[in-house]
């Protein structure tokens, strides 16, 4: 077994950005030839996007169906693994991958780990991932497994850059299984009652916004950024915002992908409600604000200035 097989992910004709991160992660390992598998109705439409530094080959598997189907995807990957015998298979830890990748690993008796945030090589892959809901980090290895299948967490690894020689393009004939489910349609989710615990992206404001009248401005900014507005306790105490939007110990615990905190100092009770967020970005004029101790990114800046810029740039 050798080489790394990255499984590209696409939806509705678009290659998803996370694919570039998988390739970047694979390249970083330097464990032999790097192939990218594209399992799609029309794989060639992604050729340009896969001309990336580090990609040696693109393996195209044509599917009869237009949409992702887990059993077809499963058989495609099983076929590719049988044909290419990679030592490492990388997919995104995404909703679609969750639908079939564990099945591939289970049936194939492969090494397997999901939601991987770190990966390195010690005579075989070793990975790091979160444990106990984020309180700890676990280190896993895969003794006795010639092929290891990993789902990498999105937004964690450096994406590959364009460049390098155009990769070799190869159509791979794989025996595909019949679909066992039928795509009916796509739909957008309706905006209903605000449930901040369901939001992927929270724009959270605190006392720093100073005035009740400013709440509306930040509501609009949230909408423009595609975020849901949440708040820290003082705004609920002051009656500016209903309690359903409160993040914190006596409010809601949230774990969005992105938590953008403007003008929140980070009282212990507030941190308890949001420290599990995947990515925390905090803006505060006080460099000592406790929120910076849990944030992944911070800026000591005036929140109104930054908010204004965000608004203009998203216009």
């Amino acid at each position: 077994m050798s080489g790394v097989l990255v499984v590209a992910e696409a939806r509705r004709g678009e290659l998803r950005e996370v694919t570039l991160e998988l390739i970047g992660a694979a390249k970083g390992l330097g464990q032999g030839p790097l192939s990218v598998a594209v399992v799609d109705h029309d794989p060639s439409r992604f050729a340009d996007r896969l001309a990336l530094d580090g990609v040696d080959a693109v393996l195209a598997v044509k599917t009869p169906g237009e949409h992702f189907e887990p059993h077809v995807a499963q058989s495609a990957l099983e076929g590719l693994i049988a044909a290419e015998q990679p030592s490492l298979v990388l997919l995104a830890h995404s909703i679609d991958s969750l639908g079939f990748a564990p099945a591939v690993a289970a049936r194939g008796g492969l090494g397997f780990a999901s939601d991987v945030t770190r990966i390195w090589w010690e005579d075989g892959p070793v990975v790091g991932r979160s444990a106990y809901g984020g309180k700890l980090e676990a280190e896993l290895d895969f003794p006795g497994r010639d092929t290891v299948l990993l789902l990498l967490r999105g937004g964690t690894f450096e994406p590959a850059e364009p460049g390098g020689a155009a990769p070799a393009w190869r159509e791979v004939a794989v025996e595909l299984r019949e679909p066992r489910s039928e795509h009916v349609e796509f739909r957008e989710v309706e905006a209903g009652d605000v449930d901040i615990t369901k939001a992927d992206f929270l724009l959270s404001v605190g006392r720093g916004i100073e005035d009740k009248d400013n709440v509306e401005q930040f509501e609009e900014l949230a909408e423009r950024l595609g975020a849901t507005l949440s708040v820290s306790r003082p705004l609920v105490d002051a009656g500016w915002v209903p309690g359903a939007r409160q993040v914190g110990q006596s409010g809601k615990t949230v774990k969005p992908k992105v938590y953008l905190a403007l003008g929140i100092s980070g009282a212990v009770q507030h941190l308890a409600g949001m420290r599990g967020a995947d990515t925390i970005i905090a803006v505060n004029t006080d460099p000592e604000a406790p929120i910076f101790s849990v944030a992944h990114y911070g800026a000591v800046a005036d929140l109104f200035d930054v908010a204004e810029q965000l608004e203009q740039q998203s216009g």
Binding site: K212, D213, V236, D237, A238, G239, W240, P242, G243, Q249, S250, S265, A267, V268, Q269, A272
Partner: protein, 733 residues
Amino acid sequence: MARDPKYDILFEPIQLGPKTLKNRFYQVPHCIGAGSEKPGMQAYHRGIKAEGGWGACCTEYCSIHPESDDTSRVSARIWDEGDVRNLKAMTDRLHHFGALAGIELWYGGPHAPCMESRATPRGPSQIPSDFELNIHPRYMDKDDINEVQQMYVDAAIRARDAGFDIVYVYGAHAYLPFQFLSPFYNRRTDEYGGSFENRARFWKESLEKVREAVGDDCAIASRFAVDHLLGATSIQVDEDGVRFVEHVDHLVDLWDLTVGDIAEWGQNAGPSRFFEENHEKPFTGQVKAGNHTNKPVVGVGRVTNPDTMVAIIQSGQFDIIGAARPSISDPFLPKKIEEGRPDDIRECIGCNQCISRWEIGGPPMVCTQNATAGEEYRRGWPPEKFSKAGNADKGVLVVGAGPAGMECAMVLGKRQMSAVHLVEADSEIGGCVNWISKLGHSDGKENLFRGTARGLGEWSRIVNYRQVQLDKLKNVEVHLNSRLSAQDVLEYGAEIVVIATGCHFATDGLNPATHTPIPGADTSLDWQLTPDEVVAGNKPIGQRVLVLENEAYFMGASIAQKLAGEGKDVTLVTQAADVADYMHYTLEAPMLHRDLHRLGVDIRTYTMVDSIEPGACTLYNVWDDRHKDKVEVDTVVLCTQRLSNDELYRELKSDPAALQREGIEAVYIIGDASAPRMIVDSVFDGHRLAREIDSDNPAMPLPFIRERRLWGDTGNGDFESQLLAPSDMVAAG
């Protein structure tokens, strides 16, 4: 768990004259309705705070002489040896827990009506009190001045005998020393009036004399309102305020700073409706900021958040965190910070119910958040200790998670009942607090005087605290979105059922004045609303609104504030002498009235609604119901009275055979469901039932200790019989 190092600064000791204050948590003088004549209540209420970690606890204002008598309001007194003995119960208890004991020596002058002593209060000039019933003081000549100063000295000596560590010469809240200092009260032309030095002389001399008498043994403190908030007519912080601090700095070991006076005490004991945490900072903060003192400073501002406390000390605003209400709400606040569990702190909501009982004159204190306040001695309730219930094996179903239900379930949980289910029909717990906490706003603009309507958002802490506690209790399950029928209750499988289903507003104008519905009143119509409907916002509100308030507390006025703030033309009608009568006791009335007047609310007192028809209400003055007055309106809001939601309870009680068959041993009803009341009383009701769930007849409250003298005991100050003391340590379960 360990204390978070960022709070270490709150636990650093600090020297107050000859005494060491062990940490920065200081319970400033405040009233509780105990005085010297309920020594048990006094000792145990102050003592519970010492047990909870407060470094010092003070009496309430303590009269130095029968000429300073505030009856029917309850002050402490240190007139004689009997008082010394009674107050020693307090100091002993504080010392037992390692806290310092403070006594606030008080002479009220004309503010104290002397209705019990029938003495004549003295004052610097013969200007009647702006607070009380125009009590005139006797003008103090030099002999009077010496006599009164001697009263302070004698009282200080008695205080030392009683074991007090900190002795105050109290001049805040416009009591006597301040009356000399302020030209608002002092029109003298001798050496005690006129110039600053002259006006300061009385206070300075009093401090000198007291210091000389007890200063070696006790810390000398002075409570000073650095700004009277009356502008140039009285003391302003940046003029005579800081000047006075500098003038007598050498005579005090501790400054206790406030603002305002007793006539509008709400500017100092600011309710959360109008004042945010640390609201006195612009005034009291100037003393240290301007380097006007070399002595430690304690100040207040309804500070409940430990991070704010740290910021106050680190920024140099004060040296010591003063608290009255936050210490009532959570006597164990310091301990909880020390033990690394600040999330367990029960934060004051600033409702001022505690204050209201003192204002009424007589009743013991209460606290919405802490049902044990005032009950430590007479019912033996410690706030953080709960004995295991004797019937802990019984399962309990509590129906309704409003203030009463939440409190009952929480205490039952802490009493280790094996299984408590708190079931709520709504999608969140909190009951009426959820909509009431949305009131209290008007138009967001500043008021004519200090204090802008900022809403009752902090009242939602009632729910926050209980939410956190209920989550921690493994034996309590909370179920939402579940409305139980009588059949559901019968089948639930609980041996004990507690009905806490709250109340609703009368929909037909039924009211305490006429005892009949009002013709034409019908809130099922879309142009008539109950107050909760106004908050829910599902019915349109026309431009001209009439709000009828017979409720005497905040509801009608708050609805008027909200709608006037939204630009409506509001007429607020009450049959009483004043709207929102009870808000005088909670100190919210002055700011409320300024707000209502600024918003142009048409207030009609002594007025009732005779009838309602589409587009108009007919009103009459209660003193002359022959003359009726028609007012054109688009919308009517009826805050006349409430009615219990007790159908479920009645249905269950109607079939005792079914209860028995299903193994239900008892059905209790608490809170508004039993009888509509104030939130503070609902919380108490739920708490009491849970504390007494294993008594012989939990529905009937157990007797509480009344501190009274029994006929046949020998004379005043010579008690033969021991007052019953409840056990100090509640038996651990």
